[in-house]
């Protein structure tokens, strides 16, 4: 295992928002997360990159406790993640998540997908929730599809709806787990544009992606993972042009050939 090589990273835009400390996670014999130390500041955009199976999704999912951890602590805005029940549900409402496979509610319209959380979790009135949902859908460019069902939309449109659904909860941080990996090339840009917009508006984001274009334009920092550990952290420019660990050099060599 390569030692973690931490570079002095750009100042970020604020106070620590998400802090992982000494996080360990096993799947049976497999040590899926090894002693993870990661601090994400308010307004910061962090891109997580690394080979398949390195634990990127697992890392993302521990932050809203879709996966539990064995050891260590994770805090959001200074508070420990609750273990279960209502408090955990309330925490998840503060953390938006966008999945690789969109996961829109298949039996609900686009509009209902976006209003469900605000109405049921935040107790917002239906008219108000719908008004806000339409604004969000317009913002991600699918306003005219509001009455349709997810299966009637293209992948790119579904993913933008999924982003709107997460934003409707007014989360403190947004997690993206390979949001464009399931999309055809011509749809990738429309989703990335929405994400770049979000980043520019100051949303705190943790993004698992191999889209180097996105990392270079929007990210403050790149975190490189291999075998369950954070191997290297740096600014995008430094990381892509001048990786320091052998694992990162090897990995970048592979993806740059494509």
């Amino acid at each position: 295992m390569t030692a973690q090589e931490t570079a002095p990273v750009s100042a970020g835009r604020g106070e620590p928002l998400v802090v992982l400390s000494g996080v360990q996670k096993h799947f049976g014999q497999l040590h899926a997360l090894q002693d993870i130390e990661l601090t994400v500041k308010r307004g910061e955009v962090v891109v997580v990159i690394g080979p398949s199976g390195s634990g990127k999704s697992t890392l993302c999912r521990t932050i809203n406790r879709l996966e539990t951890i064995d050891e260590g602590t994770i805090t959001l805005d200074g508070k420990d993640l609750p273990q279960e029940g209502k408090a955990l549900a309330a925490l998840r409402a503060e953390v938006g998540m966008v999945f690789q496979s969109f996961n829109l509610f298949a039996h609900k319209t686009i509009l209902e997908n976006v209003t469900l959380g605000p109405i049921k979790v935040r107790g917002m009135k239906k008219e108000e929730a719908e008004k806000k949902a339409r604004e969000l859908l317009d913002r991600v460019g699918v306003g005219h599809q509001a009455e349709k069902y997810p299966a009637q939309l293209s992948g790119g449109q579904q993913q933008r709806v999924a982003i709107a659904r997460a934003l409707a909860m007014e989360p403190k941080v947004m997690l993206f787990d390979e949001p464009t990996s399931a999309l055809d090339p011509e749809m990738i840009k429309e989703v990335l544009d929405v994400m770049v917009d979000l980043a520019e508006q100051g949303m705190t984001m943790i993004v698992v992606t191999h889209e180097m274009g996105f990392a270079r334009t929007a990210a403050d920092r790149v975190v490189f993972m291999a075998d369950g550990a954070i191997v290297e952290e740096n600014t995008p420019e430094e990381f892509f042009t001048n990786p320091r660990s052998d694992r990162a050099k090897d990995f970048l060599g592979k993806i740059l050939k494509h």
């Binding site: 549900a89 409402a93 039996h107």
Partner: protein, 229 residues
């Protein structure tokens, strides 16, 4: 078939009782079975195991044994359910016989309902529950709002089979003194041995009608759920 036509009110009453057994134990089984299924897929390990034991126990025991236990063993142990005798629903007196038969049918059928529900829940992609949790729904909310409505679609065909089996299983009550359709048919054939085939056909038609009504209802529900997509 004369025996049937000249005693048609008795024939109707017999099927009335069959339908009564079916409706009461059907509703009770759907409720109990759904609760068990929620326990089975839920995060609480004690409830999960308890529901699993229940299903194993009642799904693997012949219905007749459950009837024997409730009608013969339980009264010996002091549980005769006579307390239901005073209850009157819509001018109709609940009998301890009827109650026991419904209890036996419900205990048995709810195990199958639970498994049908669970297969339906498992047919809903895991990502749907995760997306529900990710926007802050509680377990109960994500069950009610996200999983069960989608599971309903996959559940209808197996659930129809379970309910048809229940309709026919009500005939086991015949052996325990309930004058439902099968017991009444036996009475008719005993008194009119020469008309056996006609009587048999008349009662078979009665069962076929009951089962066809269930299938038709299931078809209508299935169509409605599909349109609602």
């Amino acid at each position: 078939m004369d025996a049937v036509f000249s005693n048609f009110d008795e024939y109707l009453k017999a099927f009335g009782l069959t339908i009564g057994l079916f409706v009461v134990s059907g509703i009770a089984s759907l409720v109990l079975g759904t609760i068990l299924a929620v326990f089975r897929v839920g995060p609480v390990s004690v409830l999960n195991k308890a529901a699993a034991v229940y299903v194993t126990l009642f799904r693997n025991t012949p219905l007749l044994m459950i009837f024997i236990f409730i009608f013969i063993a339980m009264p010996v142990l002091g549980y005769n359910f006579k307390f239901v005798e005073g209850i009157e629903i819509g001018g109709w007196n609940v009998s301890a016989f009827f109650f026991r038969a419904c209890l036996a049918l419900t205990l048995y059928t709810s195990a199958f309902v639970c498994e049908a529900m669970r297969s339906g829940v498992n047919a809903v992609p895991l990502g749907q529950a995760e997306a529900g949790r990710a926007i802050g729904l509680t377990f109960a909310q994500s069950m009610n709002l996200v999983i069960l409505p989608q599971a309903a679609r996959a559940v209808i065909p197996p659930m129809t089979s379970v309910l048809i089996a229940l309709a026919k299983n009500t005939s086991v009550a015949a052996a325990f003194g309930l004058a439902e359709a099968t017991a009444t048919m036996r009475g008719f054939t005993n008194n009119n041995a020469d008309q056996r085939i006609g009587i048999f056909v008349a009662f078979a038609i009665g069962y076929i009608i009951v089962v066809e009504v269930i299938s038709l209802s299931s078809y209508l529900v299935e169509r409605k759920v599909r349109v609602a997509r």
